[in-house]
C-alpha cells in the first residue's frame, strides 16, 4: 500500500460504471460502510483517477465505454503504482469464461449483476481486511 493510501483515515474505493443507478447504489453502500468513494463513468476516467488518487481498492464494471473493465485491470496491473491495488469486477455476464478472463487480467474477485449490496460490502471488507 502506498504512503498516500496508508495516511488516509478512511479507505478510498474507486467505483467505475457507466450506469448511474449502479454507481449510486455502490457508492451509497460503501460510504455507509465507512469508505470514501470516488466514481468514474468510463474506463478512461477510472484509469486517470486511479493513477492520481491511488485508491485502496477498485470496483470496476466489465462493460464500460472507452476502455472495458478487463483492459482497465490489465493497465492497472502493468503500472507499478497501481499494480497491487485490489480489483473487484462487476459483470453482467453469466459465463465462467468471462469470470476466468477477469482473473486472467488480474482481478482479485468478481461480483455478478444484479448484485447484493451486502455481498459487495462483505467482499470489499474481506479484501481490504486481508491487507
Amino acid at each position: 500500500m502506498s504512503g498516500a493510501a496508508s495516511a488516509r483515515e478512511q479507505p478510498l474505493v474507486l467505483a467505475a460504471d457507466d450506469d448511474e443507478d449502479i454507481l449510486d447504489l455502490v457508492a451509497f453502500r460503501l460510504e455507509r460502510s465507512g469508505y470514501t468513494v470516488l466514481v468514474a463513468r468510463d474506463g478512461e476516467e477510472a484509469l486517470k483517477l486511479a493513477a492520481k488518487e491511488l485508491p485502496d481498492l477498485a470496483v470496476l464494471d466489465v462493460m464500460m465505454p472507452k476502455v472495458d473493465g478487463f483492459e482497465v485491470t490489465r493497465r492497472l496491473r502493468a503500472d507499478e503504482a497501481t499494480s497491487r491495488m485490489p480489483i473487484i469486477l462487476l459483470t453482467a455476464r453469466s459465463q465462467d469464461a468471462d469470470v476466468q478472463q477477469g482473473f486472467d487480467a488480474g482481478a482479485d474477485d468478481y461480483l455478478r449483476k444484479p448484485f447484493s449490496p451486502d455481498e459487495l460490502r462483505a467482499r470489499v471488507q474481506a479484501i481490504l481486511g486481508r491487507r
Binding site: 449510486d24 447504489l25 451509497f28 447484493s116
Partner: protein, 335 residues
C-alpha cells in the same frame, strides 16, 4: 371573391391557433420534464436509502407525482439488485397496491397498457405474478409478449423456462428477447434445462442444450454427451457447441468421434468445441479434418488447431497437402 377571402381568414386563424396550441403543449411538456427531473434528483437518495437500509424501514409518505417517481426509481434499482434490497422493493410494491394495479392493467383491452403493465411487473420483484406473465406470452400482440418474456427473466422465473423456450422457438417473442430473458434466469435454470434436453421436440432439445452451454458449468457436460448421437442434426450441433463452451475435457473423445458426423455443421461445431477443450488427442484428430474436409469443418478445424497448438499449424501449412484453411490459419498465427 368574398368567399375566398373568408376561407383565407379562416385558414390563417386555424394555422395561428394550431401554432399557439403546439407552443403551449411544448412549453407544458418542458415544464413537466423539468419538474420530473427535479423530483428524480430529490427522491434518488431517499429511494437508495430505502432499498439499502440496514433495518426494514417504513416507506416514505409520498403523494401524487412524488410517489410515481419514487416507484419508477425503485423499479430502476430493482434491475440491478438482488438479496435483501430486492425483497424490500417487492414488499413496497405489494404494500402500496402497485402489483395489483398492474395486474389489473394486464387485462386491459388496450395493448399498450397491457405491454406497459407486463414490463412494469418485472421491475416490481413480485414473484406471484409469474402465472399471469406466462399467460401473457400468448397475448395476441407481440409487444405484450416481449414485455412478458423480459419480465419473466427479470423475476428469475425458472418455472417459466419451458414456455419461454417454446415462445422463442415459435417466434412468439423475437429470439434475442427470449434469449436474454432465458439468460437472465441464470444457473438456477440449468436443472430444468437438463430435463428439457430430453424433450420429444428437437427444437426444444436444441434450445435447452444451447442454454446449458451458456448458463452451466463443466459439471453439466455429462448429460449432453449422449446428445452428440441425437437423431436431429441441430441437436448434435447444439451439443457440440455447448460442450465446447463448458470446456468439458471429458467430452473430448465424444467430440473427436463427432468429427466423423455425416452433417458438415455438426463436424464444424465439434471442431470448434475441440479447440476450446484442447489436448493432444484433439489436435491429432483436427489435423486431417483441416486438410481435407469440406469448407466449414475444415476451416473450423484449422482455427481450432491453431488455438491448441499454433506451432503445429505453421509446420503443417508448408506441407504440399496442407490445403487453404491450414495456410490461412498459419497466416493468422504469424500476425
Amino acid at each position: 371573391m368574398r368567399l375566398v377571402a373568408y376561407a383565407g381568414v379562416v385558414f390563417l386563424a386555424g394555422t395561428l391557433l394550431l401554432i399557439v396550441v403546439l407552443v403551449a403543449r411544448r412549453s407544458f411538456l418542458r415544464r413537466q420534464a423539468k419538474v420530473r427531473g427535479e423530483l428524480v434528483e430529490r427522491l434518488r437518495p431517499v429511494a437508495i436509502a430505502f432499498v439499502d437500509s440496514q433495518e426494514p424501514e417504513p416507506a416514505p409518505e409520498l403523494h401524487g407525482r412524488e410517489s410515481e417517481v419514487f416507484a419508477e426509481l425503485l423499479g430502476r434499482y430493482a434491475r440491478n439488485l438482488r438479496g435483501a434490497a430486492w425483497g424490500r422493493i417487492a414488499a413496497y410494491f405489494e404494500e402500496t397496491g402497485g402489483v395489483d394495479e398492474q395486474l389489473g392493467r394486464l387485462q386491459s383491452r388496450r395493448a399498450w397498457r397491457r405491454a406497459t403493465a407486463a414490463f412494469t411487473l418485472g421491475d416490481m420483484c413480485a414473484r406471484r405474478v409469474v402465472p399471469e406473465l406466462v399467460a401473457a406470452l400468448d397475448d395476441r400482440v407481440r409487444d405484450v409478449r416481449m414485455a412478458a418474456a423480459r419480465s419473466l427473466g427479470r423475476l428469475g422465473a425458472v418455472e417459466a423456462i419451458e414456455p419461454l423456450i417454446a415462445s422463442t422457438i415459435s417466434g412468439g417473442v423475437p429470439r434475442d428477447v427470449g434469449g436474454l430473458a432465458l439468460l437472465d434466469l441464470g444457473p438456477p435454470g440449468v436443472p430444468r434445462l437438463v430435463e428439457l434436453s430430453s424433450s420429444t421436440e428437437p427444437a426444444i432439445r436444441s434450445g435447452a442444450i444451447e442454454l446449458i452451454g451458456l448458463l452451466g458449468e463443466a459439471g453439466n457436460a455429462e448429460p449432453l454427451l449422449d446428445h452428440l448421437r441425437d437423431p436431429a442434426a441441430g441437436v448434435r450441433t447444439a451439443s457440440a457447441t455447448a460442450l465446447g463452451r463448458l470446456g468439458a475435457g471429458e467430452a473430448r473423445d465424444a467430440l473427436v468421434r463427432a468429427l466423423d458426423d455425416r452433417v458438415p455443421d455438426v463436424r464444424a461445431a465439434a471442431a470448434r468445441a475441440l479447440g476450446q477443450t484442447g489436448g493432444q488427442r484433439a489436435a491429432d484428430a483436427l489435423l486431417p479434418v483441416a486438410r481435407s474436409d469440406v469448407f466449414e469443418p475444415a476451416r473450423a478445424a484449422a482455427q481450432a488447431l491453431a488455438r491448441i497448438d499454433p506451432r503445429r499449424v505453421v509446420e503443417a501449412a508448408v506441407e504440399p497437402d496442407a490445403g487453404p484453411h491450414l495456410r490461412e490459419a498459419a497466416d493468422l498465427v504469424s500476425l
